[in-house]
């Protein structure tokens, strides 16, 4: 079942009168339950592509369809709501809310969605257990390691029950042990709960775990392959 389609997507930046073609005619399709990595060197356009998929940036040309909604047609306010209900984000720098505990961070997005308190509490507990942080629920981000923070970020991304999770270089700031651990958790969630993950990365350890690898160079898809 297709959940995401990109049709001939372009993104052109005008930087000091020089046009930069960051994304140049990308067309892709993603099915539910994929575990896909978008790889490419710095400046290849993968973050721009991910931002457009996540509705944080609008394509200059082409369309991005999430579950039959063309997100290019949404107004900025509609786009914020769309992101809240449909897309989970994991950022390179974790970006948790520092004044909230792990559990509150996970609950926050459900609060924005207006979910009842009991449901929020139950789901945040369940998710933090799933990422192996049952014992750190009441810790603030500053008291956790980078790997733990990123696991909270994964739990937060899943809290809103999104169609897919976008992770922009999620392991870039992690050591190898934490990277392994995080990837195992995401893989398990993908396998057991059919959560769709789309990463951007240039970390080989992530690439190895991915079942689909899309290589981008100069804003174009160089290769798109499935691996075991």
């Amino acid at each position: 079942m297709k959940i995401l389609t990109l049709n001939n997507v372009h993104k052109i930046y005008n930087e000091s009168e020089v046009q930069v073609h960051a994304v140049n005619g990308v067309s892709l399709e993603f099915d539910k339950g994929e575990f896909a990595a978008i790889v490419g060197p710095s400046g290849s356009g993968k973050t721009t592509l991910l931002n457009m998929i996540g509705g944080l940036d609008q394509p200059t040309e082409g369309e991005i369809i999430v579950d039959s909604t063309n997100i290019g047609s949404l107004k900025p306010s509609g786009l914020i709501d769309f992101r809240m209900y449909n897309i989970g984000f994991v950022f390179q720098a974790y970006n948790l809310i520092p004044v909230l505990t792990a559990r509150e961070n996970v609950e926050f997005i459900m609060h924005l969605q207006g979910r009842p308190r009991k449901e929020r509490e139950a789901r945040s507990r369940e998710l933090l257990e799933a990422v192996g942080l049952a014992d750190r629920m009441d810790s603030r981000p500053s008291k956790m390691s980078g790997g733990q923070q990123q696991r909270v970020a994964v739990a937060r991304a899943l809290a809103s029950k999104p169609k897919f999770v976008l992770a922009d270089e999620p392991t870039a700031n992690l050591d190898s042990h934490s990277t392994e651990n995080l990837l195992d958790i995401m893989e398990r969630l993908n396998r057991e709960e059919q959560v769709t993950f789309i990463f951007s990365t240039h970390d080989n350890r992530v690439v190895k775990k991915a079942r689909r690898v899309i290589t981008i160079e100069d804003g174009k898809v160089e290769s798109d392959s499935t691996q075991k």
Partner: protein
């Protein structure tokens, strides 16, 4: 959850928030306390003016106030006084004769308003009775240092308010006038005036007592004699009355009673203390406006500091705000969160400041602030050199509203700045 996040955010940079709060606290203490001093000063002035000078309400012949013509006496004044005395709101009524006279001693002379009174009535309406001092202090003021002289002075100079019998006519004058005339208790003064027939008349009075209040101008220009003495000098009938001075049991009833009396006695001139001394009424009204004006200026200055702080907050947290907007926090909520943070930051300092100011006002309100060094200057304009700060509870409520308003206004620019950013770009910023 957002208010809780906003409150926690206030404490993220503890030192910076504390500095802003301390600034707000100090601003509030300074503003409220000085407002309370001014307000207390004006309340005191009004209270003393009513107590010693004007009473609450005065009734005259409709033309008396124009030129104080002797013959403009109140018709059926005795019945009128009785009727007024029977009113529930009225505590006491004093029947007065009021005549402009020249008063002279062997040293000098000046013009004063001479009030002919019934001492028993008058002391229920004004407190001049309590302001009559014996001359101990006066002796010192006259530079009498020789103990023998002071002793002699004290022996025969005990002032009183028409309470001691005397063969001569008695007069009670203000301390300022006593100094000007260089007279003391038991000294003689001569009073000259025009009679009802237009001829000059005069009489010798002995100083019975010297009163001392905080308004030296009043001291210098108003003297009291018994009404019968003035009636015989002027040729007016003994029961003639120029002025009925009325004291009420509740000063809030002045307005309603003036209305009622104006309606009930259309032929008479009924005036409240505000009409008699319009500058006093104006002071109290304008002071309220000025006090808020002072607070608004203080808040405005604080507001700029708050804007500056909140701009720093927004800039520092631009990545976090970008993340919040990325995951689905809409603009209204981001705006609301920044506004709440600003309100919490401001109101915390505001409440602490109001609390400390209230304690200070309470303490000095009972102990008084003694400005002895400025006694002369204050008394020249009718103010007491001991200030008792006081401010109404409603001032604090209005002020809380003003602080919240300041915070809301101060948060707009930083919040708009936060909303203008693009989440994708904000997330890319390295801090």
């Amino acid at each position: 959850m957002i208010p809780s996040i906003a409150w926690k955010n206030v404490w993220r940079n503890r030192m910076r928030s504390l500095i802003v709060m301390i600034a707000v606290t100090i601003g509030m203490i300074g503003g409220i306390f000085s407002s309370a001093v001014f307000k207390g000063m004006s309340d005191q002035r009004v209270e003393e003016a009513i107590k010693y000078e004007t009473s609450h309400i005065q009734i005259h012949h409709p033309r008396f106030m124009e030129n104080q013509e002797l013959t403009y006496t109140l018709p059926r004044s005795q019945e009128l006084a009785g009727e007024l005395q029977n009113l529930e709101k009225v505590q006491a009524v004093s029947r007065r004769m009021e005549v402009p006279v020249m008063i002279k001693s062997s040293a000098s002379g000046t013009g004063v308003q001479l009030l002919g009174i019934h001492p028993e009535e008058e002391k229920k309406v004004t407190a001049i009775r309590e302001a009559v001092y014996d001359s101990v202090e006066v002796a010192g003021k006259y530079g009498m240092t020789d103990p023998k002289r002071v002793q002699r002075f004290l022996e025969d100079s005990v002032g009183h308010y028409f309470t001691q019998k005397s063969r001569s006519q008695q007069i009670v004058i203000g301390e300022e006038l006593a100094e000007q005339l260089k007279v003391d208790v038991k000294d003689k003064v001569v009073v000259n005036l025009q009679t009802t027939e237009g001829s000059l008349s005069g009489g010798v009075f002995r100083v019975a007592g010297i009163y001392r209040i905080t308004n030296s101008t009043f001291e210098n220009t108003v003297a009291f004699v018994k009404k019968e003495a003035l009636s015989s000098l002027t040729g007016l009938p003994a029961d003639a009355v120029h002025e009925l001075a009325i004291r009420l049991s509740d000063s809030r009833q002045v307005g309603p009673l003036v209305k009622q009396l104006t309606r009930d006695y259309p032929g008479l001139d009924v005036k409240s203390w505000k009409d008699i001394q319009p500058e006093l009424g104006m002071i109290t009204q304008w002071l309220d406006v000025m006090l808020y004006f002072i607070m608004v200026i203080i808040l405005l200055a604080l507001g700029f500091g708050i804007v500056n702080t909140m701009l720093m907050v927004v800039m520092e947290r631009i990545k976090e705000l970008g993340m919040l907007m990325a995951i689905g926090m809409n603009r209204m909520r981001v705006f609301g969160m920044i506004m709440l943070e600003t309100i919490f930051l401001s109101i915390t300092g505001g409440v602490i400041g109001m609390g400390i100011a209230a304690l200070l006002i309470r303490y000095f309100g009972s102990q008084g602030i003694h400005l002895d060094a400025f006694t002369q200057g204050f008394e020249a304009i009718g103010y007491s050199p001991v200030l008792y700060p006081s401010i109404g509870v409603s001032f604090y409520f209005t002020l809380t509203g003003l602080i919240i308003l300041t915070a809301i206004v101060a948060s707009i620019y930083p919040a708009v700045k936060a909303l203008r950013m693009n989440p994708a770009e904000a997330l890319r910023i390295e801090i």
